[in-house]
Amino acid sequence: MFNTIIVFPFTNALLLIYTWVGNNFTLALILLTVGVRVLMIPLTLKQQKSQVRMQELQPKIKEIQDKFKKQPEKMQKELQKIGYNPASMLGGCLPTLVQFPVLIGMYQSILRGIPATPLQMMDLHNAIYPDWFPDLANLIPVQAQLFWMDLSQPDRLYLDFLPWGIPILPVFVVLTTILQQKMMTPTTTGDGKDQAAQMQRSMMTMMPLMFGFFALQFASGLSIYFITANIVTILQFGILNRERLEWKDTSILGLFNIQFPTFAPATAAASSGPARNAQKLPAKNQSSADEPKEKKTSVTTASKGKRRRKRKQQLRARKAKAGDKN
């Protein structure tokens, strides 16, 4: 069933593009990946919107959670008032889940599309739509070489003076995954010790390494898919959110920094749709909130260093006030 719905159509599409682009499997794979990502734009847009909305709501959520720590029911009501609904937020994960079968389907079709072994060739024969390929005999064998790489094997560049091969594509997979994450995920507004911030940090470290591990172990065609998909996502997110991007020093696994646009969530006034409504409601609570008004702007627009300085100033002012009263 999975083969019929996902793997076979992908395999045939991949090979059809391969014949259109002069028997260049890498180019065919890149074009198919771009095509698949374009078809998935409605889903990814929904995911990105949900992600952006979540980021915009984070300061408010934190504020409400801190304030109503001992009143869970009240907390829920207040969270609902700002438009935060965990169930609907989970809906934002759905597009990610949908991408997994696509990823598996792509991998299967890459392996079938470049049959390196007899069994893979047999599977290709069973997958192919004969009507799409009147000149099937000339399609076989599929040319899967790209520079030093055999796309049906994990990428390794072997040099005479090294006992091991150098994994070039897996490095690019890690790099583009990090850049994609950095662009789409602004630093959390928490103090660095809260659960969300910790989770985000570990995700941002683990995900690129995990994809890098996949790239090391599986056919390098999969790495081409990962890299292309990451670049398409970066471009798509960059174009759609160009007004909210800021060029910043971006750390790559703590090894070095590069200048890269990262996402800065919109202010209340600039946000739209449910997120805008979400900003209105807590305004009523703002007078009763412990944090002064400046913090609200600081978390949304100012840089991290600026925020820290302001918070320190606020704390100092508060301590001084408390000292005066005593």
Partner: protein
């Protein structure tokens, strides 16, 4: 560079190198392949080669004795010479074993394991010929020392066949090469419409070769000129079998063909349930045995194409039968891919199951 950054970079580098060195190969996969000599069946499958007593289906020996990480991916048909069994793996290793399964010599085509590629062997002129990747190695049969090698433009999946004068090497780049067996020098080449994945059949100065272009070709062995071609419904992956003045072969559409060897003119066809990847085995009693991808074994009358009998190996597991059936005594031996058992022995006349072999029991 700060110390912490240095350590982080070093840790990542070491981790990446370890993972690169330990893994990083998509293992070659194929189906089991068999050869028979006397009372022993040799079958190469996955991480081992088994010698099996044909009388009762019991194991004589297994190579390697214990599974290891180096000698793996044995799928190529074992090559039998007077006193050696030559087996090759998909990671460019070849081993010559004696009748007890002890190593006499071994050959490593690529000391640094960079890839995995289908391999196959054959033997003639005092050499064992090993194809792996795009290279044909001629190995001295006595000691496994490489005498020469020939590099094609694309993958080689089928081993060369030979006559007294030449070697005939099929290639996935659609070309049939004729080589000098002593030096590996190319004598002639003939290009066809499709990839050639199996060993050419050689008889009386004519080569018969199946192709992934829906054709079987007959070629003059001395010059490479085309004698005739017979069109089929689908890919012909296996080697045609010659018996008398007829040629028998199956294609991936599930059709079995009998044609005149001299002209390629069709005599009969039989349509079966699913793809016939393996070769046909023809008995002296006039029966053609084939196995189909979806798990059926057929006995067909060689004269008329009428069905003698058919059995389904195991309807429960849906085993794939992609290997060449092998005849020994009054048995037809069938190897199954990922089946409940590895080998099934059926009576040639009745189709009754005689024994089955499972390496794990």
């Amino acid at each position: 560079m700060q110390t912490s950054t240095f350590f982080r970079a070093a840790l990542l580098l070491i981790g990446a190198l370890l993972i690169s060195a330990c893994g990083g190969q998509v293992l070659g996969t194929s189906w089991p392949n068999m050869s028979v000599e006397g009372n022993t069946l040799y079958i190469a499958n996955n991480d081992s080669v088994h010698a099996i007593n044909i009388q009762n289906g019991t194991s004589r020996w297994q190579f390697p004795r214990e599974a290891n990480n180096v000698a793996t991916q044995f799928y190529a048909e074992p090559t039998l010479t007077d006193n050696l069994v030559v087996v090759s793996s998909f990671n460019q290793l070849a081993f010559a074993l004696d009748q007890q399964g002890a190593i006499q010599w071994e050959f490593d085509g690529e000391p640094v394991r960079t890839t995995t590629a289908p391999s196959a062997t054959s033997s003639a002129h005092g050499f064992t010929y090993l194809v792996s990747g795009e290279t044909l190695f001629a190995l001295n049969l006595e000691n496994g020392v490489e005498a020469w090698q020939f590099n094609a433009d694309n993958s080689l999946w089928g081993p060369p066949s030979s006559n007294d004068d030449l070697l005939f090497l099929p290639s996935m780049d659609h070309i049939l090469y004729a080589l000098d067996p002593a030096t590996g020098t190319e004598v002639w080449q003939q290009e066809f419409e499709g990839a050639l994945a199996s060993i050419p059949t050689q008889e009386a100065g004519i080569l018969y070769v199946g192709s992934l272009s829906n054709n079987v070709y007959a070629v003059d062995a001395a010059t490479g000129s085309l004698r005739w071609k017979a069109q089929t419904n689908d890919w012909v992956w296996s080697s045609p079998t010659i018996q008398g003045d007829r040629l028998y072969f199956g294609d991936l559409s599930g059709t079995v063909y009998a044609v005149e060897a001299e002209t390629g003119r069709g005599i009969w066809t039989a349509n079966l349930d699913s793809a016939i990847r393996g070769a046909t085995a023809v008995s002296v009693d006039g029966a053609v045995f084939v196995n189909s991808e979806e798990g059926f074994v057929y006995s067909i009358d060689a004269d008329t194409g009428a069905l003698n009998w058919q059995v389904e190996i195991d309807p429960e597991t849906g085993e794939r039968l992609l290997s060449n059936p092998v005849l020994a005594d009054d048995l037809v031996l069938i190897a199954a891919l990922n089946g409940t058992h590895l080998v099934y022995a059926y009576n040639q006349s009745t189709g009754a199951l005689v024994w089955q072999f499972d390496p794990d029991r």
